[in-house]
């Protein structure tokens, strides 16, 4: 729905202190003369009914359809300044000027004017989005029939979505259905109960919206969200179906106990917690070697967990499981004792109450201990331990030893999804989380780098039944959200409002494959000739392809290399001719900032009325991944003295909303210094900083330090050329 006949107007707000900080007559002049915006109006409170009415009047009577709003941050009042059918460009005069600069200073005025120039440049090149819409199958494929999968299936079905539940084994229920008893899931959390999975199994089997396929595994999964073709191997036969989104809930497998010889595994009376569960379910806890009753049972916690040589992480449930199994021992024989040897007892959430209850049993004994060995002598097992709460070097005698082994996600060495994506069959971040399909938990739980595929349960993180149940619900809701967005042609997290999408000018593609390699979401495939093509429904609209492309052929309707380049070129860069002889030429520095964390951090700094350096002009980027190197030459040829990029933290503990964007940008910058050297410019003029959304208080210092460094280097020699 491109705008045919463009009618531009700019509305400048004097409220919230803007009117006191800058001279509006000069702003209007710049907007009209340099920005070439024919209609410029001021208002005391633009977001008031009267202010909005003024704009609406102009839309109705004058046919205005391209609107610059010079007021507050685009992150606020977006409902007020939403005018359907109109292109709206927000200029952040309040946060970036009025609240962070010295009022009525020439530099403050120059800053506000530059923001208006950039807005005018941008709105000329932008256009309204036309959503990309395809058919969208809203069936949700749930892989794995354990607690998380059952819970996800029920949640999706209860919201009216068709669900296909695929289970590898002959029965659904997973580990939860194989338990003798479960740890308590309701107040007062002190008694063992039947596994809550049993009720879930019945609910799923009785739900007409859920198809359950057992003895089934995913052979391949191809296409894109809303149009995923899944081929399932069911009882040995292949069948292909269309689904829309996926919940991956294939759970865990136990850590290989044969690697735990140092804890006695291999001795007949040393078993794992799974063996114990099975034995208890069969009804009798006894020594495997001779069937004699187990009068003293020792549980060794963290068997192969939180151990750099085995699993470096905590599996979350083993402590509660051992406490539960200690109660099995006690309930079978009131004269038996259960000894739990732990690193720390970890019973998160309400399991703490269960810990208290189990601990109160006279025959359940606990101590911290570093187990150094397990040997058998005279029919008894002897467990040597160091650093116990009972003394330095002690020996425990037991009839039976239970190793509390941890969880290994099923995705550890099997892609499971078997995606037919150019970037590979599995989820790309598995190596970052020891095989778990995890993500930044605070910022975006459930997300994976494969759009509309959400991880739930122990494939996601180690967790118990109660948490897996909730996790399944969360993942199902994310899947529903993804489908509904895709159906109307909108992006999903984190640009969940965005209707634009990449529109490459493929005639100029050189098939360099940078976009297909770098896309964090594997959204770009290649045809047989090697030409890339997009699977738009996989795309998150970060623009990493746009930043990667050396031919600069990737465009969004309101965001492209050209649009940002035009903005940079629109700046007024003062030269020696503009100042008196004895005055210094003020520096002009560009701040390219990530919209997800750095931009909100700048807004937060403004809300705290922190002073930000007046020489820097901030330009929001969808992600630093969309940073194209050509902008550096655009800016420096314009005479800009420096360029600072503010992006999210990257690396193992990344906060980048597009997972790889800020990291890729940093990588591209390593290639930049050569280019700058050739131009005779210093590499330090372009620097990338990592800023978390909460670090707004550090921004003034970061910016001042950068400006000081540029000042030290001196002005851009190309200035005024």
């Amino acid at each position: 729905m491109a705008i045919e006949e463009r009618k531009y107007a700019a509305y400048l707000c004097k409220g919230c202190g803007i009117g006191e900080a800058v001279k509006f007559a000069a702003l209007t002049k710049v907007t009209t003369r340099e920005g070439k915006i024919p209609l410029v109006k001021e208002h005391d409170v633009l977001c008031s009914p009267a202010g909005l009415e003024m704009i609406k009047q102009d839309i109705a009577s004058e046919g205005v359809n391209c609107i610059i709003i010079g007021a507050c941050s685009p992150r606020v009042k977006y409902e007020e300044f939403d005018f359907p059918g109109c292109l709206v460009e927000r200029v952040n005069l309040r946060e970036f000027v009025a609240w962070t600069q010295e009022p009525n200073h020439p530099e403050t005025q120059a800053l506000a004017e530059d923001y208006l120039r950039m807005a005018a440049a941008r709105i000329k090149k932008g256009d309204l989005p036309e959503p990309f819409q395809t058919e969208c199958d809203k069936t949700i494929l749930v892989i794995g029939g354990g607690m998380a999968g059952l819970s996800a299936a029920l949640e999706a079905a209860n919201h009216g979505y068709d669900v296909l539940l695929v289970e590898k084994e002959a029965q659904i229920g997973g580990f939860g259905a194989k338990l003798h008893k479960a740890t308590p899931s309701s107040y007062p959390f002190d008694k063992l109960q039947n596994s809550p999975v049993l009720a879930k199994i019945n609910a799923v089997q009785g739900n007409p919206k859920i198809r359950v396929w057992t003895n089934s595994v995913i052979e391949t999964l191809e296409g894109e969200p809303g149009l995923l073709d899944v081929t399932i191997k069911r009882n040995g036969e292949l069948e292909t179906l269309r689904v829309g989104a996926v919940v991956l809930a294939t759970g865990w497998k136990p850590y290989d106990a044969t690697k735990l010889g140092h804890l006695g595994y291999g001795l007949p009376n040393v078993i794992t917690n799974l063996d114990m569960e099975e034995m208890a379910k069969k009804g009798k806890i006894a020594r495997p070697s001779d069937g004699r009753p187990a009068k003293a049972v020792a549980f060794i916690q963290c068997a192969g967990s939180r151990d750099p040589d085995h699993l470096p992480y905590c599996s979350d449930i083993c402590c509660a499981v051992s406490l539960k199994q200690a109660l099995y021992v006690r309930q079978q024989d009131p004269d038996a004792v259960a000894m739990i040897l732990y690193k720390d007892i970890r019973t998160p959430g309400n399991n703490e109450l269960f810990y208290k209850a189990a601990q109160s049993d006279p025959g359940v004994m606990l101590t911290k201990a570093e187990v150094t060995g397990v040997t058998e002598a005279g029919g008894k097992l002897k467990i040597s331990a160091q650093d116990t709460l009972l003394g330095e070097n002690v020996v425990f005698e037991a009839d039976l030893v239970v190793l509390a082994t941890g969880m290994v996600p099923t995705t550890k060495d099997d892609p499971i999804l078997n995606l037919k994506y150019r970037q590979g069959p599995g989820l790309p971040d598995l190596d970052l989380f020891q095989g778990f399909a995890d993500s930044n938990f605070i910022c975006f739980p459930y997300e994976t780098r494969r759009t509309a595929i959400y991880a739930a349960g122990t494939v996601h993180q180690p967790m118990g039944l109660a948490m897996a149940e909730q996790d399944g619900v969360g993942a199902a809701l994310k899947a529903i959200q993804a489908l509904e967005h895709i159906a109307v042609g909108m992006a999903v997290h984190p640009r969940a409002w965005d209707e634009t999408f990449p529109e490459p000018f493929l005639q100029r593609c050189t098939q360099c494959k940078r976009c297909t390699e770098e896309c964090p979401f594997g959204a770009i495939e290649e045809d047989e000739k090697g030409t890339p093509f997009y699977k738009i429904n996989r795309c998150r609209r970060c623009g990493t392809c746009m930043g990667a492309c050396p031919e600069r052929i990737v465009n969004f309707k309101d965001y492209s290399v050209d649009i940002v380049g035009s903005m940079l070129k629109s700046l007024e860069v003062p030269t020696e001719e503009d100042v008196e002889d004895d005055e210094e030429v003020p520096l002009r520095i560009l701040g390219l900032v990530c919209e997800n964390d750095a931009y909100p951090a700048l807004d937060a700094a403004a809300q705290h009325h922190l002073r930000l350096n007046p020489s820097i002009r901030f330009v929001p980027l969808r992600c630093l991944g969309s940073f194209n190197l050509v902008w550096v030459s655009d800016a420096f040829s314009r005479g800009v003295d420096g360029m600072i990029l503010l992006g999210c933290k990257y690396g193992d503990d990344y906060q980048c909303h597009f997972a790889k964007g800020s990291e890729l940008c940093a990588y591209r910058l390593t290639k930049l210094s050569e280019t700058l050297d050739k131009l005779g410019l210093e590499a330090d003029r372009v620097q990338q900083m990592q800023v978390a959304i909460s670090e707004f208080d550090t921004l003034p210092q970061i910016l001042d330090d950068f400006v000081a460094r540029v000042k030290e280097i001196g002005p851009n020699p190309f200035k005024g050329m």
Partner: protein
């Protein structure tokens, strides 16, 4: 591995701790807050954290620990315990069990520790005293035999308790009871001393016993340790009053013994005789004892929420001390101030029963702490544990 200790949990021992009032021991999760907040605990291997886990695991050796005696049950640990494990109360129970462990015969200690047997324990001195009275011929139910007084008849004339219960008989009985207590204590302390000298943190004891004992006794008399308590700070004064009450009364009893048998001055000794000073000390002692024990009672009630309500074993001694003081004061009042023979003699009898209980059962009641704590403090002092 050298120096390893084999851990042998004893489920029965845990059950006994729980039954004796240490049910909270299992709640401990070994955070060590107790040892940190305790003002009495030594820096090296502090209590009560380690005693708590020994109790949880049913490791009987905890009874041999001198550290359980270094605890004065300030209850600071109990107040700060994040899990409600009440280490102060648990250590009190462990001390009770240690008293039982070292007492001979330990069966008697078990009876003392169980409220079910209280009537039996009181009945014993009652019957014993009645038996002696009968043997002396002052007790009889038959009237016909021409005795000076008949049956349980109250002697006529001025109230003089020795008319009814000869001093010689009393001294014989009570010296006997005391001798029994001393014997039992001696056996217990001997075993305790041997046990603590093989404890893991034994160091070569330093200094002479006598010199150290004097220092420890000074410490005890001044209640220097007690004064470090925060939650139950008031106890340092209350307990001090009770202790000095007993000391005064002991002085009076000793002096009376001398007067009676060495100087042959017969009791009773009155306030208005030349021995008035003795009576003044006696009255002061009784006053301190009664006021002190009353304050102990009040403080315990007031602190029950924070420091725990106390066990039967605790209250038994408080009531016994109160009974000794009350019957003693009443015996005096009903004799000298407001003579009512028909009440005076029976009350005096009760007083004798109470004192017998106090003496005879001393190695088995909480009173035994007098001996074991002193020994433990002496040991701690001599082994450089900061005492």
């Amino acid at each position: 591995m050298a120096g390893e200790t084999v851990i042998k949990p004893d489920l029965d021992f845990i059950k006994r701790i729980v039954a004796a009032g240490g049910d909270t021991a299992k709640k401990c999760y070994q955070c060590d807050t107790c040892s940190v907040v305790c003002n009495l605990s030594p820096d090296n291997k502090p209590f009560p954290r380690k005693e708590m886990i020994q109790a949880q695991w049913g490791l009987k050796d905890v009874l041999k620990s001198p550290d359980i005696w270094l605890c004065h049950q300030c209850s600071d640990c109990t107040v700060y315990c994040p899990r409600g494990a009440k280490p102060g109360e648990v250590l009190a129970v462990l001390r009770q069990m240690a008293i039982e462990h070292y007492a001979f015969p330990s069966l008697l200690a078990r009876l003392v520790g169980d409220i079910k047997f209280l009537p039996l324990l009181v009945l014993f001195p009652v019957l014993l005293l009645l038996f002696v009275l009968k043997a002396l011929g002052v007790l009889g139910v038959r009237v016909a035999e021409g005795l000076t007084h008949q049956g349980l008849a109250i002697p006529k004339g001025t109230i003089i308790y020795s008319k009814w219960f000869p001093t010689l008989a009393i001294d014989a009985i009570f010296l006997g009871a005391a001798a029994f207590a001393v014997f039992v204590f001696f056996q217990g302390v001997k075993r305790f001393w041997n046990d603590i000298n093989v404890n893991p943190w034994t160091v070569r004891l330093k200094g002479g016993i006598v010199k150290n004992l004097v220092a420890v006794l000074t410490d005890i008399l001044a209640h220097n340790r007690f004064k470090k308590c925060e939650t139950t700070f008031a106890r340092s004064l209350n307990h001090l009053m009770v202790v000095f009450g007993f000391i005064f009364l002991a002085v009076v009893t000793g002096t009376a013994f001398l007067l009676e048998w060495v100087f042959h001055i017969e009791s009773p000794y009155n306030l208005f005789s030349h021995l008035w000073w003795l009576k003044v000390i006696a009255l002061m002692g009784t006053g301190l004892l009664l006021y002190g024990i009353y304050q102990v009672y009040l403080a315990r009630q007031a602190n029950a929420e924070k420091a725990g309500p106390g066990t039967y074993f605790d209250w038994q001694l408080i009531y016994l001390v109160a009974a000794v003081g009350l019957t003693g004061a009443l015996s005096y009042g009903l004799r000298a101030l407001l003579p009512i023979p028909v009440l005076a003699y029976p009350v005096y009898f009760l007083h004798l029963v109470c004192i017998f209980c106090l003496f005879f059962y001393a190695p088995f009641t909480k009173l035994a702490h007098l001996v074991y704590r002193t020994v433990a403090m002496l040991y701690a002092r001599m082994s450089d544990r900061g005492f």
